[in-house]
């Protein structure tokens, strides 16, 4: 019978095939585009509302220009927007792997691709790409629309300003960082709901448990993803309550990088060692 033989000659496998497979897998669940689309709308709407408020209540020329630039940028990506990105990014990251464990699909996946590290890296790469796109679209569209509203009050910011660019980049990159943390916890916990709860605890609640009062706790706090985003979103310290152990921008970028890389590294080691 013809089905016994493959119609075309066997092509050597490539990592790109795994990326394509994980990409297909990611988008073949109906809920995913909905979650990303609705989250984008929600963030943009919340930011627009904030910008409109500033627009309606600000008299041009008032206030320190540096502080007003901060106000304008904060309207482009309010804290609630960061919370939504954290939830969606972390949640999706947790689900893409915990969902495979919860359904048993992971066994089918690993029986097809015994190279577990390659499977995990492909998953991490696709997740990072999708969430970076999501973060960039969300933060970018929000920035464009909100600054256009604020422009006629004279405080609209431009991406040609390095601090504004940093502000938007910090927001866009926050989603994939949270996603990779979710991926790591999803690999560890293997249970969809448990993985999402674990991710929320680490990303949301851990920062509120740590004080900035002592040197070592301040260091610990600044090494968490959400406080790192907060630092990167702070372009001026004018108008801020001074602290003894302030966070640095370089430290915040490092925090992003270390959480992302460590998450992938831990997940890779765990998936290699475990029975499935």
């Amino acid at each position: 019978m013809s089905t016994a033989t493959l119609p075309t000659p066997v092509r050597r496998h490539r990592f790109g095939d795994l990326l394509a497979a994980e990409w297909l897998k990611f988008w073949s669940l109906r809920s995913i585009p909905w979650v990303l689309g609705l989250a984008t709308l929600l963030v943009v709407a919340a930011d627009l509302k904030s910008a409109q408020y500033t627009h309606d209540h600000y008299t041009p020329g008032d206030g320190d220009p540096a502080v007003m630039a901060q106000v304008a940028l904060d309207d482009s990506f309010i804290t609630a927007s960061a919370d939504i990105l954290m939830l969606v990014g972390g949640g999706l990251g947790a689900i893409v792997i915990a969902g495979e464990y919860a359904t048993g699909l992971i066994r089918t996946t690993l029986a097809a691709v015994p190279d577990r590290r390659a499977v995990l890296l492909a998953k991490a790469a696709v997740l990072t790409a999708v969430l970076l796109g999501f973060g960039t679209v969300t933060a970018g569209v929000s920035f464009g629309l909100t600054q256009a509203i604020l422009a006629d009050r004279g405080i609209g910011q431009s991406l040609s300003d390095p601090t504004a660019l940093r502000y938007v980049a910090a927001a866009a990159l926050f989603a994939p960082v949270c996603g990779l943390v979710g991926l790591c916890l999803g690999t560890l916990i293997r249970h969809s709901a448990g993985a999402v709860v674990g991710t929320v605890v680490v990303l949301f609640f851990l920062p509120s448990l740590v004080t900035e009062r002592y040197r070592w706790t301040a260091d610990l706090l600044h090494a968490l993803p959400f406080p790192a985003w907060q630092r990167l979103a702070r372009i001026t310290l004018a108008g801020m309550r001074p602290t003894d152990y302030p966070a640095t921008v370089a430290g915040a970028w490092t925090t992003y990088g270390v959480w992302a890389l460590a998450s992938v590294a831990i997940a890779t080691v765990v998936i290699q060692r475990r029975d499935h």
Partner: protein
């Protein structure tokens, strides 16, 4: 070819697989039999590199499966029909698998047609019956046109037509020179599917032989006789060395003499026979007898 060598898996103090050694050869459908909890699934998972053995090895065509970069062209496997995501469509599930192994997309349509799922391919797997999921799993195993195929309880949930189809498929795959290894806890399923058997109980090897050899273990064949004067016939046959057990309807269950000899004796004594039926040894009985000591979960009182 699958080579299992001194394979052992312990979970804490429980030994799931205990120094198993056997070989599954190409060109045959080999049944992998054992009661529930005998270690069949654990063995298959180790063969697929999903679980690491505590000690010992299992290789597929001479190599450890876990060391391979991609699997579908080497081994096609259906471990559990439920190992899918219910939110995906059947065709999406197979396309992901095919893509991960650089298998052309057209192959997905081929295997869907092969298992009879073409019409259901666009529906989400969550709405499939167990039988349809089994078919989808079999389609996935066939994707890479592999020389070795592993199936864990593939007949579960299939309708009678599906069971016939699967048997035909397994035989065809074996006839093409592939290694086909099929687990089951039901002898009756294997009797018409496999031509070789590997039987395990409590993780240990009990038998590794052809179906014919296994059948020979099933004890002597018996002859059922119905006679006009069962008491006289009993005496005659006992005198000739037979063992006789009275059946429920006045028939006699005779072992130790074949049907021809019983007929001769009856004729010599001018005894009228109504029926003389040879009954082959039951594989099911042989299987039950062999595994009786190694049944993990026994219903009823403790033995």
């Amino acid at each position: 070819m699958i080579e299992v060598n001194e394979l052992t898996k312990r979970y804490g103090r429980r030994t799931a697989v205990d120094r198993l050694t056997f070989t599954v050869r190409p060109g045959h459908v080999t049944g992998f039999l054992g009661p529930n909890g005998a270690g069949k699934s654990t063995t298959l998972r180790m063969a697929l590199g999903l679980n690491d053995p505590t000690s010992g090895t299992v290789t597929v065509d001479g190599r450890a499966f876990r060391g391979l970069p991609r699997g579908l062209r080497e081994v096609g496997a259906l471990l559990d029909a439920g190992d899918v995501h219910g939110g995906r469509t059947g065709v999406a599930h197979l396309r992901v698998l095919a893509r991960s192994n650089a298998i052309p997309r057209g192959r997905v349509e081929e295997v869907l047609a092969e298992v009879g799922l073409t019409d259901a391919a666009g529906r989400r797997i969550g709405g499939y019956s167990l039988g349809m999921k089994q078919r989808l799993g079999i389609a996935g195993a066939l994707l890479g046109d592999p020389p070795v195929l592993l199936f864990d309880e593939p007949l579960n949930g299939l309708d009678p037509e599906g069971v016939l189809w699967v048997r035909g498929l397994f035989r065809r795959l074996a006839a093409e020179g592939r290694t086909v290894f099929v687990s089951s806890h039901m002898m009756a399923e294997m009797e018409h599917t496999a031509d070789r058997l590997v039987v395990i109980g409590r993780g240990r090897l009990i038998a590794d032989e052809s179906l014919t050899e296994f059948a020979a273990r099933a004890g002597r064949a018996a002859v059922t006789v119905r006679a006009a004067e069962p008491e006289r016939l009993t005496a005659v046959l006992r005198a000739a060395g037979a063992e006789i057990r009275p059946g429920p309807d006045g028939s006699l269950d005779v072992t130790g003499l074949d049907a021809g000899r019983i007929g001769e004796l009856a004729l010599e004594q001018r005894l009228l026979l109504y029926a003389l039926t040879e009954r082959g040894a039951s594989l099911e009985e042989a299987f039950m007898e062999l595994t009786a000591d190694s049944v993990e979960y026994l219903a009823g009182e403790p033995r």
